[in-house]
Symmetry: C2
Subunit: 375 residues, 2 copies
């Protein structure tokens, strides 16, 4: 186990992060008060994390590594070859094996299967015939997805009728191995986020209920309502995954709530958009606890401070002064260029009197250029 140096003084601890987007930015924001400085590797130069440390280009891996021994990531789809390029003395958390699995939906599903974590019925699709067979066996509608790559609804095709089968294949057939998933009539989606330390210590945050708009997370409500009986099950699935993968850091598991119980949708080996509420809403945030876990430090408490709602800012910024005029609104501006469908920031509403939360959400809606699923 990595033993951190106790005293910081003028030589703060160092962490290398693959990726310099908003998750890297918020990781580094959480690291700074602990006396831990982050550097980043990203092909994009003007990135959200650049405010907090140098961003090295993938061509400059040598400088990114430097004398650093600990690494993590903010994005699961980094090439495994980049990780393999790290020197032997370097350690990366979450572990490589966890990344390999989460980079491939087929491996991910079979991991769920192996741990008896229920998932929607699925079939691997390598050719049009596979796809036709999948349609017969899973029924329509079904969702065809690329096994690798793709997020926020990209790399997906909803096969509604038999006519869509050929078109789905045309669209995605050249994108490597595919997976067809039976359509789930779920009531709602929740996510459980947990962190595991190098010691094996595990902490869980409250489950969030997630609302999407056109495949992108619109907002998360915490705690997810009516979740008491489901929480221990979700945490048990999470524990199995964390221990199976000998995981270190934050892991997110998205789950569908169905009449038959919880179904695992997918996992993300990183801090997650549905956990941004933890910055204000939990004793220790997902960002700080990920840093603590990776650096070999004790984990912080994950207790809920107050019920809250996290709302994404997508595509276009609202007026800063409008948002800040709302009582108990916390703005997180990622300093990104406006672009349709792009996550530009988020707002967490957490009034001291929780009963004021619904009224506060109503006040927020007209202030957002796109209120997404809040409407």
């Amino acid at each position: 186990m990595f033993n951190p140096v106790s005293c910081t003084a003028m030589a703060p601890l160092q962490l290398g992060i693959f990726g310099a987007g908003q998750l890297g930015r918020m990781l580094a924001q959480a690291a700074l008060p602990l006396g831990i400085r982050c550097v980043f590797l990203d092909a994009v130069n003007q990135s959200p994390a650049a405010a907090l440390g140098p961003v090295f280009s993938p061509d400059d891996m040598h400088a990114f590594v430097g004398q650093r021994r600990l690494f993590t990531l903010e994005f699961e789809n980094i090439p495994l070859s980049s990780i393999d390029a790290l020197p032997e003395a370097a350690t990366i958390f979450p572990p490589r094996a966890a990344l390999a699995i989460t980079q491939n939906r087929l491996l991910e599903k079979s991991t769920f299967d192996a741990l008896n974590i229920p998932v929607a019925p699925y079939r691997a699709v390598h050719c049009l015939t596979d796809l036709q067979n999948a349609a017969d066996q899973l029924g329509l509608p079904m969702v065809l997805k690329t096994a690798t790559g793709g997020y926020d609804g990209k790399g997906q095709y909803v096969v509604k009728t038999a006519h869509d089968i050929a078109r789905a294949w045309e669209t995605l057939g050249t994108h490597g191995p595919l997976i067809a998933e039976g359509f789930i009539h779920f009531e709602r989606e929740v996510s459980v986020i947990a962190v595991r330390a190098q010691t094996g210590d595990i902490r869980y945050w409250e489950l969030a209920q997630n609302h999407h708009h056109q495949g992108i997370l619109s907002h998360s409500v915490v705690p997810a309502p009516n979740i008491e009986t489901l929480t221990p099950i979700a945490q048990q699935y999470m524990q199995q995954l964390l221990e199976h993968l000998n995981y270190v850091g934050v892991l997110t598991l998205e789950l569908f709530v169905t009449p038959e119980g919880l179904l695992a949708n997918e996992m993300a080996p990183r801090v997650h958009n549905s956990g941004h509420w933890t910055i204000e809403g939990a004793v220790c945030s997902q960002f700080e606890n990920h840093i603590r876990a990776v650096m070999g430090l004790p984990l912080g408490e994950t207790d809920l401070i107050k019920p809250c709602v996290m709302v994404n800012i997508i595509g276009q910024y609202p007026k800063r002064e409008d948002i800040l005029a709302l009582p108990a609104a916390h703005l997180h501006d990622y300093e990104k260029e406006e672009r349709p469908g792009r996550k530009l920031g988020h707002i967490t509403l957490m009034p001291p009197k929780s009963e004021e939360l619904p009224a506060l959400i109503k006040q927020l809606i007209p202030l957002l250029p796109d209120a997404l699923a809040l409407k």
Copy 2:
């Protein structure tokens, strides 16, 4: 009034801060999620705020100013000539007049007098005879202080007996105008911190009870106990000061609780050590609200989230892993070199169940190299 640009995107708002110590660091940490970038002016190069923006040397005022139009400070004892060197289009908050007053204890006291805010009896001291007269009129012990400069107990001499008078004069007589203050037998010290916006809107945080050790703040307890009847009085004094000074930003007023009521000790025209608890303990922190006020943005709510205790780390760092192993401990490491009497960081304890706070403080004490007044 300054009108902030609404949209941030790739051109974040800019703020220049005089000073790059821990207060500048925490101001910039609060500014970043709002999409506001800070630059600093400081003679010290390797300073705590350097993690968040460029630190310009006083020789490089021109680069510090750049195209920026808004400025603030983290330290009241910056030379007024530095402020006067700002271009005409630039605005600094708090206003120059407030700085001039708080840079001189005699002006500060006469401001309190003018507003009928009670203070300890005092005399201006310009010569040894003045000092002898002050001793006769105020009685001994009394405290001799430099009117300008000095903080954390520096530039002060406690005159206990008639023998000390000459020695006090020898020690401080060449340090410019002096002030002799009657010794106050106070029960405890509290501070009220408030913020005033450009619109005149004022918000107050809960009063903190401050405990000192050898002239340096050891820890602050929030809310200060048994303060209900005193809070409206403290807030009234604060309101008078803010409006008299046409103040913008965070202002701190230290008050003695005496059998005769509250006495003003001194004010600080900035975020204050006794307000560090607001990062976790209030809806909007003193740092974020100072930024909001200076940038012309609406103020955030100052409501208390949970009772908490802020403990300073002085002189030597504790083991990082020891502190982080405490439940509900928030570490703020300023990344400073260890030096006796130096503020290196702080820890805020804020358990979800407030009744656990006393036990948590007891757990913290043996972990600190110097537990100061917590002992």
